[in-house]
Every structure is written in C-alpha cells, then in structure tokens.
C-alpha cells in the first residue's frame, strides 16, 4: 500500500510540476513581423527597459521563414501572451478585434494621422510609412531620353514603354517592367496592383470604392481602367519574371539593370543597398491605374502595433509606444537604425535610403493615395484576385474576361 501511495504521489508531483509554467509579471512581450529589424528593435527595447525597470522581450516572426499569421495564433494559446503585437490594416483588425485594446488619451495620437481608426476609436499605432509606385532607374530613362515627369498618364507610360522596348538590345534590358504575377507573388498583383482600383485618383480618405467592394458592388468603369493599365504592364514585363519570378529574381533584375521599372515599394531598399549597392539614381512615378493624369503614389502604414486586451502589462505597453513616437531615442531608432520612414510629425531626421527618400518626397508633397488593400477580407487579394491576374498574365483569359472575373469575385462579397 505504501508503494502505491508513493507512486501516486510521484505521479501527482510530475503532473503539478508540468502544469506550472514560469511566470513573471513585469515582463513586456512584443511580437512583431519585421524580421529584418529584429536585432535593432531588441537593442532599443533593452535600453528602454533598463531605463524603466521593465524586462522587454522581443519575438519576431515574418518573411519567408516564418508565417506571422500562423505563429501569432500559437502565441495567443500560451499564458505569456504578447502584450504588443502587429496587425495589418482593417482586414487584420477584423481578424483580431477580439484581442485588441483601444487607445485612449495617449500622447502619440496627436502626432500622427495614420493611426488605425475604426468608428472613431483608435486601435493601432502606425509602425512606419511605406509606399510604392513605379520605381524607375533614372540612368536608363535618361539614356532613352525619357523625362520621368512624362510618366503621368497611361499614354505617357505607353510612349515610354514602347521607346524602351525598341532600345532593349542597346540598353541591355531583358524587359521594360520587372513585375511578378506567379504563384507566391500574388501580393504584388492581388494586393498592390489591385489597390490602384481601390484608391488611385481619389482623395486620401475617400473610402467609397473599398466600401462598395466590401458590400459586393464592383465599379465596372474603374475595373476597366485598371485592366488597361494591367494590360500595358503585362505586355512590357519581362515574361520570365512575370510568370515564374520570385521576389529575389524580380528585385535582382532591377538591381542588375535588366529592367527599367520595378513594381515594388520602398521595402526593397535593404536589397538595393546590400553589397554590391546600386550606383544608379532611382525615383517613383505614379501608377496609371486610372485614366487621365495621375499624380500620386500609394502611401500608407503597412502595419500597426496593437495592445493585447488579455495581456498583463497594458500600462507598460502604452508607455513603450509613447516613448517610441515622442522621444529622441525613439526617433533615432526608427529613422537611423531601422531605416524606416516614420509616421510621426515630430520626427525631423532625414531619410536616406534611395527608394524611401523618393517615397518621402511624394509623401511630404501630400501627393499620396491611400492603402486599402489590407482592408479587404483576409485572403481576398492574394488568394482570390491574385490568381485571376495570373490567368490574365498567362494569356488564358482576355482583358474583358479579366474585368468580368474581378467583378464576379467582388460580387461574392455581397
């Protein structure tokens, strides 16, 4: 009998020990998706934590190696859930709204217009600003005698593309436009290119087209204009990159001066500056997603820090974000260390990375179109619209069918 009791006791002990996880209560956990700034953020967070007597843990998951969307769900299952995590746009907000604590009376809120606001309540702290347009290689345009200022309408682009196409051999180009539409690159087409339909030519806060989309109402006129633009891009794109290209082959071709234009945002700066760094000047021209004159690029906050409402340290989380937005150390971290374009007015440090600087020029001039691609339902852009772009790039469907299928797709949201 003694033996049995002993055995039961042993079993009980094992179970109890296993059930007890370690738990600390002054620990602030940040879970974020920019792996490239992991070390830099960690360094900043450590310094901040030391000053404030709080242990800050940074966990990063993103890029090709780690699927943020999957991992965040895992993070929520534990007892030490992240206090601050990252969401992307309204789509992300809808997925995670059960977990998000609204911001109230925080000092940073007066310093930016880019916080994520839903029904008048601020839920998200903008991590940074990103932008995309048609990135161009100024040297190649100069060699072909093209003035970037002429790239302000579909006709302007057509003339420039035709001229570059006729000089391909001379300039050593494999194609005019570097753009990828294949499997795995649907974010370029289904999100970034398609955002032209949602916001190009409209005021920054004009949500009419995205709201119609969410209600299942396609705008046939705008879809037609988008299709004209996509047709032109696909016609002059390097076909191998278009159909089979990866992010690396797309950016690589632009870096090697094999294509004159790139359909990517300023997040490719680290790739452009990686050894060997590019030695040609670059700039951004507007997407001709709508007819008439176009004079803006797509500028927005790609992601937001939000506070976990089930977290243990919401006060520390708020303090961390305020200091990030409003202190000298925070500014230096964002601009100088992490090479981000900050979303806050009080930041005065200059932006130096090539495409970020080009994007900043447009943003400062107020020539920006909004990002609504993340306001579409999860999986809509990449999983549904992207494959239709690919069908069109393949030549499986005509321009009319391309428009028709996008319209049908939007109607499924009714």
């Amino acid at each position: 009998m003694k033996k049995v009791l002993l055995l039961l006791l042993a079993l009980f002990t094992v179970v109890t020990l296993a059930a007890c996880g370690g738990s600390g209560d002054t620990e602030l956990i940040i879970f974020q998706n920019k792996v490239e700034i992991d070390a830099i953020l960690r360094e900043y967070a450590d310094a901040w934590g030391e000053e404030n007597g709080i242990t800050v843990t940074v966990r990063s998951c993103g890029g090709d190696a780690c699927a943020y969307g999957d991992r965040i769900l895992t993070e929520f299952q534990g007892t030490d859930q992240p206090d601050i995590f990252v969401i992307e746009g309204l789509g992300g907000f809808n997925d995670f709204k059960d977990k998000i604590l609204p911001f109230e009376n925080q000092a940073w809120m007066d310093d930016t217009d880019l916080g994520l606001t839903v029904d008048g309540v601020v839920y998200g702290f903008p991590v940074n600003i990103e932008a995309w347009g048609m990135g161009y290689n100024k040297d190649i345009l100069d060699a072909a005698g093209i003035n970037p200022a002429s790239l302000n309408s579909l006709a302007g682009y057509r003339a420039a593309f035709e001229k570059l196409d006729s000089m391909k051999a001379e300039l050593g180009l494999t194609g005019v436009v570097g753009m990828a539409a294949g499997a795995g690159m649907e974010w370029v087409t289904g999100l970034h290119n398609f955002n032209g339909y949602l916001s190009a030519g409209l005021d920054y806060d004009d949500r009419s087209v995205i709201e119609d989309l969410l209600a299942g109402q396609p705008n046939m006129d705008r879809l037609g204009q988008l299709a004209d633009w996509v047709e032109l891009l696909f016609q002059y794109a390097d076909q191998t990159i278009l159909l089979e290209g990866t992010y690396d082959s797309q950016v690589g071709a632009f870096k090697d001066q094999k294509v004159a234009f790139i359909h990517q945002g300023n997040w490719i700066d680290p790739n452009l500056l990686g050894a060997p760094a590019i030695d040609f000047p670059v700039g951004y021209a507007p997407h001709a997603s709508v007819s008439g004159t176009v004079d803006a690029i797509f500028v927005g906050a790609p992601s937001y820090y939000v506070i976990n409402r089930d977290g243990n340290n919401t006060d520390a989380a708020n303090q961390f974000l305020n200091d990030l937005a409003l202190t000298q150390e925070g500014h230096s971290y964002m601009v100088e260390k992490a090479n981000m374009v900050p979303a806050f007015r009080s930041v005065t440090l200059p932006v130096t990375a090539p495409l970020s600087a080009a994007a900043n020029v447009w943003a400062q001039a107020g020539k920006s179109w909004a990002w609504f691609q993340n306001d579409m339902p999860s999986g809509f852009g990449m999983g549904e619209a992207g494959p239709i772009y690919f069908q069109y790039a393949q030549g499986n469907i005509t321009k009319e069918q391309f428009v028709q299928r996008l319209a049908d797709l939007i109607r499924t949201l009714q």
Partner: protein, 321 residues
C-alpha cells in the same frame, strides 16, 4: 488443511483485485499520454469544428452546430481540392508503386554495386519535403525550362498549366518516395524461397509466368503495406506542394463543379491546391478555424474509409506459404 481451503478463495480474490490495480497503474502512463496526445486533441477538433472559432484564444467562440459542415459542402474550393486530390492520389500511387517495384526487381538481381544503387535510390527520401520542393522548383524553372538551362521545355511546367504542375509534382514526389517503397518490396522479394523459383525454372516456366504465378502472390503482403503508405501520404501531401508549386497555377473552376454547385460565374482556383493545403489556407490565411477544422474532420473520415477499404481488398489477395 481444512482451514487453509476455507481461507483460499478469499485470498485469491484479494490477489486478483490487487493485480487489476497494478495492471491499470502500469498502463496509466501510456494510456494517459495516449489520451492527452490523441483523444483530447481529436475531440477538441470535433468541438471546434462546430464553433465559429477564428483561432484567437479568447474563449468567446460560440457553438453553431453543423453550420461549418454545411458551408464546406457548398464551397467550390473544397470540392475542387477534393477532386484534384483524388486524381493526384490515384496517379501518384500508380507511378510510385510502379517505379518502386521496378527498381526493387532491378536491385535484387545479381550484379556488382547493387547495395550502392539501393542506397542511392533511397537517399532522396531523407531530404525534407520543403527543401526538396525548393530545389526542384529551381530545377524546373531554371534548368529544364528557362533561358540558361537545358531548355527541354518552353515553359516551366510549374506555371504553364494545372495538369503540367501536377505531373511535375508527381515526378518530384516519386523521386522522393519511390526509394522508400522500393525497400519494402526488396524485403518481400528476398523472402521468396529460392527453391520455388528454381523448381519453376526446371518446369520450364518463363519470366512472365514466374512473375504471375509466384512472385506477385508472394509479395502481395508488401503491396498491402506499400499501397497503404502511398495512399495515405498522397492524400495528406502538403510540404512539397507548398514549396514546389505554392498550390498554383491558377485556372478556371471546371464546368462540372460549377454545374454541381449551380455557380453561374467562373471562379478562379489554384490547380494544385490539394486538400491538406486547402485546409491550411482556410484555417490560417482566411482565419476560418472552425471551417478549416470541419474540413479536416471530413478529410479524416474520407481517408479512414478509403484506407480501410484498400487494406480489406488487398488483404484478400495475400497468400500464406
């Protein structure tokens, strides 16, 4: 003596009870582990498939009965994935077993270096599916097709059409898995008694007759195992698809599914979106955990049914020596 006989039954009962206690006590760790690892997750899965869970650990999900199951049987993506998975699995099972059996016949002949060949055919199986997918993606895009390689094909099969992509996938999975299945066949072939073969030779049986009357019946057991393994892995194929084709290329939803579900438009679907991939996307990119879980349960039931049928049918063909 009489006293002892009187006492014995009582003692025996006590012993039995304590034996039973010890029996369960010794079983408890294994049983507990099994329950925690298998039963609990399975029944939680069934529970979540009946909720509107989105994957957030909020505890605020609500029970919605069989709504998710209703959703998936009208979901064209699921129906399409199912049809593609069936086509893929049938082809894959035939090709892998054909190749594996062929290879095993070759490397059981008497010739030099046969062990080297056995190892060489087996080694691809040791490479992880994800890595393998990326390697073969490079080979298809840049060596078989592409501007610098052998240019055997004009377009990379991974992006030219859904069927090409599926054939490419089958080729890669066969390359990876046939060596493993080959090992099972080798073991079976080596168990065939030499004297049976010899006797048949003396009786004047030719190679085809020997194969039909002796070899095939005697390796039937191996066929049961190999077919089961290939069936299950084909249906559950995930990692290699994810990295090789990323479930692409895009194509129109076939007419028969549109007619089946009464869809008047032409939705676009991904040509190699097999069931495991479709379930993953439902759960992790569309965040419909409940629906994804329901798909997984249906998937489980279908796979269980098919594999039991397969084993039953195969078992009937087995012979004992």
């Amino acid at each position: 003596m009489a006293q002892a006989i009187k006492l014995n039954p009582k003692k025996k009962l006590g012993k039995k009870a304590s034996e039973r206690l010890w029996f369960w006590l010794f079983l408890a760790p294994a049983l507990g582990a099994f329950a925690i690892m298998v039963w609990v997750p399975f029944f939680m899965g069934v529970y979540f498939s009946m909720t509107d869970w989105t994957g957030l650990n909020t505890g605020r999900q609500i029970l919605i009965g069989f709504e998710n199951y209703r959703t998936i049987f009208t979901d064209y993506r699921f129906i399409y994935s199912f049809s593609r998975t069936v086509i893929y699995s049938v082809l894959n099972i035939l090709v892998i077993n054909g190749v594996a059996f062929g290879l095993s016949l070759l490397v059981t002949q008497k010739f030099k270096l046969k062990n080297v060949y056995r190892a060489a055919f087996f080694i691809p199986n040791l490479i992880g599916g994800l890595v393998l997918g990326f390697i073969w993606q490079f080979i298809f895009n840049n060596i078989i097709a592409g501007q610098v390689g052998l240019q055997l094909l004009e377009r990379s099969p991974l992006s030219s059409s859904p069927n090409d992509a599926m054939f490419a996938l089958i080729a890669v999975v066969t390359w990876q898995y046939a060596g493993y299945i080959m090992m099972i066949y080798i073991a079976a072939l080596q168990n065939i008694p030499e004297d049976l073969i010899e006797a048949s030779k003396i009786d004047g049986a030719n190679a085809v007759q020997r194969m039909r009357a002796i070899v095939l019946p005697l390796v039937a057991q191996a066929f049961t195992v190999a077919l089961f393994l290939t069936l299950v892995t084909s249906f559950k194929q995930f990692d290699t698809v994810q990295s090789l084709t990323n479930s692409g290329p895009a194509t129109d939803l076939p007419l028969y599914i549109r007619n089946l579900l009464n869809i008047t438009t032409i939705p676009t679907v991904s040509g190699t979106s097999l069931m495991a991939v479709d379930i993953y996307r439902e759960a992790f990119t569309r965040f419909n955990m409940g629906v994804g879980q329901a798909k997984a349960i249906v998937f489980f039931a279908v796979l269980l049914l098919i594999s039991i049928t397969q084993v039953y049918v195969n078992k009937k063909r087995e012979v004992e020596l």
